[in-house]
C-alpha cells in the first residue's frame, strides 16, 4: 500500500507521525480541557540540571564565559542620569561548538535520539538550531537532515539562512532548501515518515531543559563576579524557548527576584508567509513575527504541547528596531572587541537602553551571543536590504519602517526600547485557548493553569473570562 502524500492527507496524520518521531505520549499530561500538567511533563520527560550538565559536557556544550562589557557600561552611564547605568554583562554563547546557545537545546535532543536508537534526526529550522543539531549529530554519529525556508519565488536566498545552510553541510547534514511558505511543515512531516528519524523539535521538554543550564550558569557566574543575583536578564525572544529555559534555570538557581525581560526586533507590518516580504526583512529570527504569535499561541508548534511558554515567565517584553540592533552590533565590535550577532544582539540593544533606567550598582545580563561572518554580518544584511529596495540611512530609529527603511541611530542615546503590552498578550493567549479547545466554561483546573501560564493570579483569569463572555 502506498501512503497518500497529498498535503491534506499528510497534515491529517500529523499527530500520529509526531508521536513516533519525538517518543512522547502527550496524552498522559492532558486534562481533557485547556489545562495540562506542565510541570509534570517537564519533570517526567525532561532531565534535571545535573543530568543535563553531564549530557552537555559529553559534547563540549555550555560553560561559556560571562564577560563584563565595561566600555558599553561606561557609555550607558554617560547617557544616563547621575547614579544610573547598571553593569552590563554578556554570556558569550558563541563559544559553544556550533556557535550559539542552540547547542544546549540540540545536545539533549540528539542525546535522546541516540538513546532511543534512532538512526538520524531531523530539524525544521532556518536558524542557528540547524547547525546545532547537525554539529551534535556529527558528534553522536547520527544522520541529520535540516529543512530550511531559504528562497523567495525568484530563487533569491536570504544571506543569513544561506550561511546557516552552509554550516549544516559543513557538519555533514543534508540541507533541504525550500521557498517561502508554512508548508515547510508538510515537507518535514513527509521526511519524518519516510526516514523514521527523530524529530529534534525546538519545543520538546528536553529541548527546553537543555537551555536551563544557561540560566543556571548566569546565576552562578554573576554571583561569583559581583556577589549578587542578576537584577535583570534580557533574552532575545522568538519561539519562546530561550525565555522559558533561561528563566527556569535562573529559578532553579534560586534567583527569585531577577526580572525576566524578553526582547524582539520589531518587524510589525511584514507578513511572515509572504513571498514578497520574506527578503525585505534583515532579521530571520528574534523578531516579533515569531515572538508575538508564539507568546499568544505557543501550541502552534510542531508538538501537541509546547514546552516553551514565554508568558509563564516574562516580567516585561520590549522591542527594538532593526537599525538599533545593527548599531549595537557595530558598537559591540568597536568598543568591546567582540564580533557577534546579529539576532542574538537584539537583547544587547534592549539591555543597553534598560541599563540606563537602572541603578549603577545593579546588574543586567545579556544572555547570549552568536557566531557571525558571511551572510550574517550587518554589512551582508544591509547590502542585501539595499539590493531589495530597502532604504538604509542614519537618523532617529523611531523612523524605522520594516520592509521600507532601516534607520541606523545617529547617537547611542537614541537606542530605546518600546514596551509590548503584556496584558494584551495574556488576554489574547487566554482567548486563543478558549477558541482552540472550544470550551464554553472554564474549570477550576483551567483557571489555575491559565493563571500559572500567564504569570498572573486566578482572579485575573476570571476577569478576562468574564470580559470574553465565558462562564466559570
Amino acid at each position: 500500500m502506498t501512503r497518500d502524500i497529498s498535503y491534506e492527507a499528510v497534515m491529517a496524520r500529523k499527530n500520529e507521525i509526531m508521536k513516533k518521531a519525538v517518543g512522547i505520549d502527550y496524552q498522559v499530561f492532558e486534562s481533557g480541557g485547556i489545562a495540562f500538567d506542565y510541570e509534570r511533563m517537564m519533570r517526567e520527560v525532561g532531565y534535571t540540571i545535573d543530568e543535563i550538565r553531564k549530557i552537555q559536557a559529553e559534547t563540549g556544550v555550555g560553560n561559556t564565559p560571562l564577560i563584563e562589557l565595561k566600555n558599553l557600561t561606561k557609555l550607558a552611564r554617560k547617557l544616563a542620569p547621575p547614579g544610573k547605568g547598571a553593569r552590563i554583562f554578556i554570556k558569550d554563547e558563541a563559544c559553544n561548538p556550533s556557535g550559539s546557545f542552540k547547542d544546549r537545546r540540540a545536545s539533549v535532543s540528539v542525546y535522546r535520539a541516540q538513546k532511543l536508537g534512532f538512526k538520524g534526526v531531523i530539524a525544521a529550522t532556518s536558524g542557528n538550531y540547524g547547525a546545532a543539531v547537525a554539529s551534535q549529530a556529527a558528534m553522536r554519529s547520527l544522520n541529520c537532515i535540516v529543512v530550511q525556508e531559504v528562497f523567495d519565488s525568484e530563487g533569491r536566498g536570504q544571506p543569513e539562512i544561506l550561511e546557516k545552510g552552509r554550516k549544516c553541510e559543513a557538519f555533514g547534514a543534508e540541507v533541504i532548501q525550500l521557498s517561502v511558505g508554512p508548508e515547510l511543515f508538510y515537507t518535514f512531516l513527509c521526511l519524518l515518515e519516510e526516514t523514521g528519524y527523530f524529530n529534534a523539535s525546538l519545543y520538546t521538554p528536553f529541548g527546553i531543559a537543555g537551555i536551563e543550564t544557561l540560566g543556571y550558569e548566569v546565576a552562578e557566574q554573576v554571583r561569583a563576579a559581583t556577589g549578587r543575583d542578576p537584577d535583570a536578564v534580557v533574552i532575545t525572544h522568538a519561539g519562546g524557548g530561550n525565555v522559558t529555559g533561561t528563566a527556569r534555570g535562573l529559578l532553579k538557581a534560586g534567583c527569585r527576584n531577577t526580572k525576566i525581560i524578553g526582547a524582539s526586533v520589531d518587524l510589525t507590518g511584514l507578513h511572515m508567509a509572504s513571498d514578497r516580504d520574506f527578503n525585505r526583512k534583515s532579521f530571520t529570527t528574534g523578531h516579533t513575527g515569531f515572538g508575538v504569535p508564539f507568546a499568544t499561541w505557543p501550541d502552534r508548534a510542531d508538538v501537541p504541547r509546547n514546552a516553551a511558554r514565554s508568558l509563564r515567565y516574562l516580567d516585561r517584553y520590549v522591542t527594538v528596531s532593526q537599525g538599533e540592533v545593527f548599531y549595537m552590533t557595530e558598537a559591540l565590535a568597536q568598543l568591546e572587541g567582540m564580533e557577534r550577532g546579529p539576532a542574538g544582539n537584539t537583547s544587547l540593544a534592549a539591555a543597553f537602553a534598560i541599563a540606563r533606567e537602572m541603578d549603577e550598582d545593579q546588574v543586567i545580563v545579556v544572555q547570549e551571543t552568536e557566531y557571525t561572518g558571511a551572510g550574517k554580518l550587518p554589512s551582508a544584511q544591509l547590502t542585501f536590504a539595499t539590493e531589495m529596495g530597502v532604504e538604509v540611512r542614519r537618523g532617529d530609529p523611531a523612523g524605522d519602517k520594516p520592509g521600507e527603511r532601516i534607520v541606523i541611530p545617529e547617537h547611542p542615546a537614541q537606542i530605546r526600547v518600546k514596551e509590548v503590552n503584556l496584558d494584551a498578550l495574556r488576554k489574547s493567549y487566554i482567548s486563543n485557548c478558549i477558541k482552540h479547545y472550544k470550551v464554553q466554561k472554564l474549570t477550576g483546573e483551567d483557571i489555575r493553569f491559565l493563571a500559572e501560564d500567564t504569570k498572573t493570579i486566578e482572579d485575573y483569569v476570571r476577569m478576562v473570562a468574564e470580559e470574553l463572555g465565558i462562564s466559570i
Binding site: L75, N143, V175, S179, E183, A273, T383, P412
Partner: protein
C-alpha cells in the same frame, strides 16, 4: 552526450506543491507561486543540465529532481562596506572621551 559525470556534486530542483495544492492559509503573493525545493548531492548517473536526475545526499538518501547546478557555489558574502556603519566606532570613542583614534 551527457555533460555532467556520475559522482559530480550538484544541485537539484523540484516543485513540492503547485500553487493549487498549497495550504489554503497563505497571503495572496505566496498563493500564486509553487513551493519549491532545492537539494545538493552526488549524481548517481551521467546527465545533462535540465535532466530529471537522481542524487545521493550527504547522508546517503537518494532523491530525484531536475539538475540545475553543477558544483553549486556558496555565493553569500560579507557585503559591501556600509557608510552608515563605518563611522560608529569613531563616534562612540569620542563620546567616551577618547580622540576617536
Amino acid at each position: 552526450m551527457p555533460d555532467v559525470a556520475k559522482g559530480t556534486w550538484v544541485q537539484i530542483h523540484r516543485v513540492v506543491l503547485g500553487p493549487e495544492e498549497r495550504s489554503p492559509h497563505l497571503p495572496d503573493d505566496t498563493k500564486k507561486v509553487p513551493l519549491e525545493l532545492r537539494l545538493k548531492g552526488f549524481l548517481t548517473h551521467d546527465a545533462c543540465i535540465g535532466d530529471e536526475v537522481e542524487i545521493e545526499t550527504l547522508i546517503g538518501r537518494r532523491v530525484k529532481g531536475r539538475l540545475v547546478k553543477v558544483n553549486p557555489e556558496y555565493d553569500h558574502g560579507f557585503g559591501r562596506p556600509v557608510p552608515e556603519l563605518l563611522t560608529i566606532g569613531m563616534e562612540l570613542r569620542k563620546i567616551l572621551g577618547g580622540d576617536g583614534r
